[in-house]
C-alpha cells in the first residue's frame, strides 16, 4: 500500500543577511499507514523544520527550496492555501514542544478544543462541548468538566500536554506530528504521555511522527526511525535494526552518547560540533566530525543505499566496509 506521507528530495532554506542556511538538505522520508516513525537528531538537525514543512508552516525568510510532499497521494506543496487549511488540523495535526506556550492563554482550554469541533466538523455548541469533555476524558484528564474551564496557566505541564494532544486528536487526524512532546516533563509524566500516544495511535489507526532527541523514547515507542544530522537524513531503519546494528557513524556515536540506567557502559560524547548550515559545503555534513571520513565524503553527498530490508544508510565509509567484508 502507498505510504500515507511521501517526502521526496525536500529542501528547506532560510535566506539570511549572511547567506543561505540549508536547514533541510534533500531528504526522502516515507511515513507508512498506522506506524509510529521516530525522527531523531541533535538540535539544529532539521527535525522540526521538516515537520513544519509538511504542515506548510515555513514562513519567510524560510522557503521550501525543492522537492515534493505527498499526503495520501496529493501534492501538499501544490495545494492552494484554502485547501491546505482544511487539511491542517483536520487530517494532519501537530503537537508542539512547549504546550503551555502553544495554548491560548486567554481562552479556557475547553473552549479551545470545542472551537475545533465547530470549525472542522460543524458541530453545534452543545455537541462540541459534549465531545470536548469526552476527548478530555480520553486523554486522561481527571474531572474534565472542571478542567475544561481552566486556563493554560492553571494546569501542570503534563496536563497542558494532554490538552494539546486532545486538541490534535479532536479532528481524528490521519497523521500526527509530535514535536518533542515530552521534553521538559518529568520522567513519570513523560512515560504517561508516551503511553497515551501509543494507545491513541493504535486505537485510531493514525500515523505518528515523533520528533525527539531522546533515543530511549524512540526505542520504547517507534516502529521505524529516521536519523537526521545537520539537515541531512543519514539513516533510516526499523527500530530493532537501528539499535542492534546502527550503521552510520553518527547513529553509532549518538547511541554511545546517552547515559543509561539499564546497563554499565561508558558514555562517549559525539565528536565535534554540529556544523554551521550557512552556505554548507557539498558532501556529507558529518564529514568533519566523522572518525571514518574518506576524501569523497567532503565533495559528493552519499546516496542512501539499502543494507537490509527496511534499513537504509547514506555513508561511503559504511558502504565501503560492507563491500570489503561481506557478512554471512
Amino acid at each position: 500500500m502507498r505510504p500515507l506521507l511521501e517526502v521526496e528530495n525536500l529542501s528547506v532554506a532560510f535566506d539570511t543577511d549572511e547567506g543561505t542556511v540549508g536547514a533541510v538538505d534533500a531528504i526522502d522520508l516515507d511515513v507508512r499507514r498506522g506506524e509510529i516513525l521516530g525522527l531523531v537528531g541533535e538540535s539544529g538537525s532539521g527535525k522540526s523544520v521538516t515537520a513544519l514543512a509538511v504542515f506548510r508552516l515555513i514562513r519567510p525568510p524560510g522557503r521550501i527550496a525543492g522537492g515534493s510532499i505527498r499526503f495520501d497521494g496529493r501534492d501538499l506543496l501544490a495545494l492552494p492555501e484554502e485547501e491546505m487549511r482544511r487539511i491542517r488540523g483536520a487530517q494532519i495535526a501537530m503537537v508542539f514542544q512547549s504546550p503551555r506556550t502553544a495554548l491560548n492563554p486567554v481562552l479556557p482550554v475547553g473552549r479551545q478544543i470545542a472551537r475545533l469541533y465547530r470549525l472542522h466538523q460543524g458541530c453545534s455548541a452543545a455537541e462540541a462541548r459534549r465531545r470536548t469533555l469526552e476527548m478530555l476524558g480520553l486523554v486522561g484528564i481527571p474531572e474534565p468538566e472542571r478542567r475544561a474551564r481552566d486556563y493554560a496557566h492553571q494546569l501542570s505541564g503534563g496536563m497542558c500536554q494532554r490538552v494539546m494532544i486532545a486538541m490534535a486528536l479532536a479532528t481524528s487526524p490521519r497523521l500526527l506530528l509530535a514535536d518533542e512532546p515530552t521534553t521538559g516533563l518529568d520522567v513519570s509524566i513523560a512515560a504517561q504521555i508516551l503511553d497515551l500516544l501509543r494507545d491513541l495511535g493504535r486505537r485510531t489507526g493514525a500515523s505518528i511522527v515523533l520528533i525527539t532527541h531522546d533515543l530511549g523514547v524512540v526505542a520504547g515507542l517507534c516502529d521505524r526511525v529516521a536519523v537526521m544530522h545537520a539537515g541531512q537524513l543519514v539513516e533510516c531503519a526499523d527500530v530493532r535494526s537501528l539499535f542492534r546494528e546502527p550503521a552510520h557513524p553518527y547513529t553509532r556515536a549518538l547511541v554511545r552518547s546517552i547515559p543509561r540506567v539499564d546497563r554499565e557502559v561508558t558514555m562517549e560524547p559525539v565528536p565535534g560540533v554540529v556544523p554551521s548550515l550557512l552556505d554548507a559545503p557539498p558532501g556529507c555534513r558529518y564529514a568533519d566530525r566523522c572518525p571514518d571520513v574518506l576524501d569523497v565524503c567532503r565533495t559528493v553527498k552519499p546516496a542512501r543505499s539499502a543494507r537490509a530490508r527496511d534499513h537504509e544508510v547514506a555513508c561511503y565509509a559504511t558502504e565501503a566496509a560492507r563491500v570489503a567484508a561481506p557478512r554471512g
Binding site: 541533535e42 538540535s43 518529568d186 509524566i189 504517561q192 532527541h213 531522546d214 530493532r240 552518547s257 558514555m267
Partner: protein, 325 residues
C-alpha cells in the same frame, strides 16, 4: 572524620498569604504553607559526590538554595566544615561562599548578558581573593583552560557563545575560587544530548584534578549515575531513599525510586523491564498527605502507609522510608 557538609532536619516552608490564611490564623488553625522541604538530613564526605534526584517540585532546588543560604531555611542545621552556617552572620557567611559555589540549570539566564566572560570569571576572584589585576587575569585564563575553553573567548559576551560554551563559563566561574563544595543544580538539563555527555565528563575530570566535592542535583537518574558515589531520592520535600549508587540501581527499594527508574526510557527496543506506574501527579506541597507522602499514588499502598514513616537503614548505607520494605 566528620563529613564536609552535614544537613540535619532541614525545613523550608513558604508561608501563604491572603484572606483565607488570615481567617485560619483567627480560627487558630495552623496557617497553610508550601512545605518545600520538610525535614531533610544528609551528609557529604569531602571528595564525595552525592546525587540528589527527584521530580519538579520535590524541593531539590530549594534545598540547594538553602545550603548556600540564598534563601533562609525555616528550621534545621547546616554544618559545613564543622561550622554552623544557619547562624552565621552576613560577613562570615559571605567569606564562606568562597568554599561553596553553585552552577545553575539555565546556562544563559545565569550569566549577566552585559558582562564579558572575563568579568564573569574574574568577579568571584575580586570578591574572594586578594589577587591583583594581573593575577586575576592569569587565573581567569587558567580556569577557562580547565573547562576546555580558549583564552580567545575571554572578551566575548554570552550571546556570542553556544549553549555548551555558556555552561562551561558557568562552571569556570564556580571553580574560580577553588571551592571545596560545588552545588550543581541540573547542570546538563538545558543542554543537547551530545553536549550533556561532554559536560558530565568535564565535571568528572575537574573533580579528579581539583579534589572537589559535588552535590549533583538532577531529575534524571541516568545522568546522576555517572558522577555520584551515593544517590538520595527526594519526593515532596523529604528523602525517601538513599544508597550507594550501584546499590540503588541494582536494588531500588522504595516504590518511588522503582517507579522513577522504570519510567526512564532505555535505548533498547527489546528491553523487558519492571514497570511500576504511579497514579496521577505529585500532590500540592500545601496539602501534603499524612503518613507516607506517596501513598495515594503508590500501587503497593496498604492501610499501614497512613502511619508516619521515617528513613531507616535496611542494608549497609542503604536507607529507605517505606513501611513495606
Amino acid at each position: 572524620m566528620s563529613p564536609l557538609l552535614e544537613v540535619d532536619g532541614l525545613v523550608k516552608h513558604f508561608p501563604l498569604r491572603g484572606l483565607g490564611v488570615w481567617l485560619d490564623t483567627l480560627r487558630r488553625r495552623v496557617p497553610p504553607a508550601v512545605r518545600a522541604i520538610d525535614g531533610v538530613s544528609l551528609a557529604i564526605d569531602a571528595g564525595e559526590t552525592l546525587g540528589l534526584v527527584g521530580e519538579s517540585g520535590c524541593g531539590k532546588s530549594t534545598l540547594a538554595r538553602c545550603l548556600l543560604r540564598l534563601i533562609e531555611p525555616t528550621a534545621g542545621r547546616i554544618r559545613f566544615d564543622a561550622v554552623e552556617l544557619t547562624t552565621l552572620g552576613e560577613e562570615p557567611l559571605r567569606r564562606r561562599r568562597r568554599d561553596i559555589q553553585m552552577v545553575f540549570q539555565d546556562p544563559t539566564a545565569s550569566l549577566n548578558p552585559r558582562f564579558t566572560v572575563r568579568r564573569t570569571v574574574e568577579d568571584p576572584l575580586r570578591l574572594h581573593s586578594n589577587l591583583r589585576r594581573a593575577g586575576r587575569r592569569e587565573r581567569a585564563q587558567e580556569v577557562l583552560g580547565r573547562v576546555g575553553l580558549g583564552a580567545e573567548l575571554l572578551d566575548r559576551y554570552p550571546h556570542e557563545l553556544s549553549g555548551g560554551q555558556r555552561q562551561r563559563v558557568n562552571i569556570a566561574r564556580a571553580i574560580a575560587t577553588e571551592p571545596r563544595l560545588v552545588v550543581l543544580d541540573e547542570p546538563t538539563s538545558a543542554l543537547d544530548v551530545s553536549l550533556r555527555a561532554r559536560i558530565i565528563m568535564l565535571l568528572g575530570e575537574l573533580r579528579e584534578k581539583l579534589g572537589m566535592t559535588y552535590l549533583f542535583i538532577s531529575h534524571d537518574l541516568a545522568t546522576v549515575k555517572y558522577l555520584s558515589r551515593r544517590v538520595a531520592v527526594m519526593y515532596l520535600g523529604t528523602i525517601v531513599e538513599q544508597a550507594p549508587t550501584h546499590e540503588l540501581f541494582r536494588h531500588p527499594l522504595h516504590p518511588y525510586t522503582r517507579a522513577l527508574l522504570s519510567a526512564i526510557p532505555v535505548p533498547d527496543p527489546d528491553a523487558r523491564r519492571e514497570r511500576l506506574v504511579l497514579a496521577g501527579e505529585v500532590p500540592s506541597p500545601i496539602d501534603v498527605p499524612t503518613g507516607c507522602r506517596l501513598r495515594f499514588r503508590c500501587p503497593l499502598a496498604q492501610p499501614v502507609c497512613a502511619e508516619p514513616v521515617a528513613l531507616r537503614e535496611v542494608a549497609p548505607r542503604h536507607l529507605v522510608a517505606c513501611h513495606l520494605v
